[in-house]
Symmetry: C2
Subunit: 204 residues, 2 copies
Amino acid sequence: MQFPSKLVEEAVDQISRLPGIGKKTALRLVLHFLKQDKEYASSISQAITKLRNEIQYCKQCFDISDGEICRICSGIKRDHSMICVVEDSPDVIAIENTNQYQGLYHVLGGVISPIDGIGPSELKLNELFQRVEHNQPEVEEVILALSPTMEGDTTSFYITKKLKPLGIRVTTIARGIPIGGELEYADEITLGRSIMTRSDLSED
Amino acid sequence: MQFPSKLVEEAVDQISRLPGIGKKTALRLVLHFLKQDKEYASSISQAITKLRNEIQYCKQCFDISDGEICRICSGIKRDHSMICVVEDSPDVIAIENTNQYQGLYHVLGGVISPIDGIGPSELKLNELFQRVEHNQPEVEEVILALSPTMEGDTTSFYITKKLKPLGIRVTTIARGIPIGGELEYADEITLGRSIMTRSDLSED
């Protein structure tokens, strides 16, 4: 692609480094910036720089935070007896949006993945174990909400094993057929697991 | 959507002002920024600010330029007898990418659209007429490459009428069935126009 100016080319190169944005979209954004007043471009770039420079992480749950302790950890209405373990911040946002969970979180920052060189020490795992230990008997349950991949399962297994001696209830979120999903289109592994972990209707 | 931090919310708000980027994509970009080092975010925001503050427009054709006169206008290999009139910079890039045109350009900055309050004086139309007049007899042909909309056609008509007294050849790019397009899927207006403006094969 031939660009009319070095500045445009530079900006396109930079913007197209973003995930999901190719050269054509980047060029469209660049031309959009040029059509708007200078304030528009500077307010967006300031927000990005400010975000990156001033962002903090909660000292308790390691989620993104405005202060030393995040809104959820310091919330008086939250249920401090439950800790939901997730991989990353977007997972917290996703669970919060369901409005179904009132407990606390713990953001690991990833899952154990030897291929990518991520061992337990690269994650906030020791911090989780210490947090659970120090907050006994307040913490009663640790809910694992990790990806249903080999790495996620490995991490879940690791956490379960480490928490067992503390006598804390460790649960994992249900895997199964999505609500509204049709059986015939579900993959065999999900369907198989949903049969194995079936729930009892006659008990209620 | 609930955000874990005011900074994240601000950045998402700003980034989602970009065309084609909604809140979810903006959040994905924000979390991507947080995962990369600080240099990454600052290099992108610097490129945007620099672009917006330092961009120049060619004094002859009004395309985006690095200097007072753009690369195309100052190109010695370009055919200075032809001026292709386009709405905006992306059109120049698109035509340049075809490698079929060696002449010069003139970027209007839009088309005449009374509904949007854009009259001839809001566009670089007088600049076009003066440019053609001052560069006679060098300029022999003005090619109109405007959108096939009512506004584009109005603008084409306006330019044609103004240039007629100067005795300059005014042409418009061909409208018709796209190469590789099938007749049965073409809309009636395009098909109708392609019949009316048919080209003679027996003449060659």
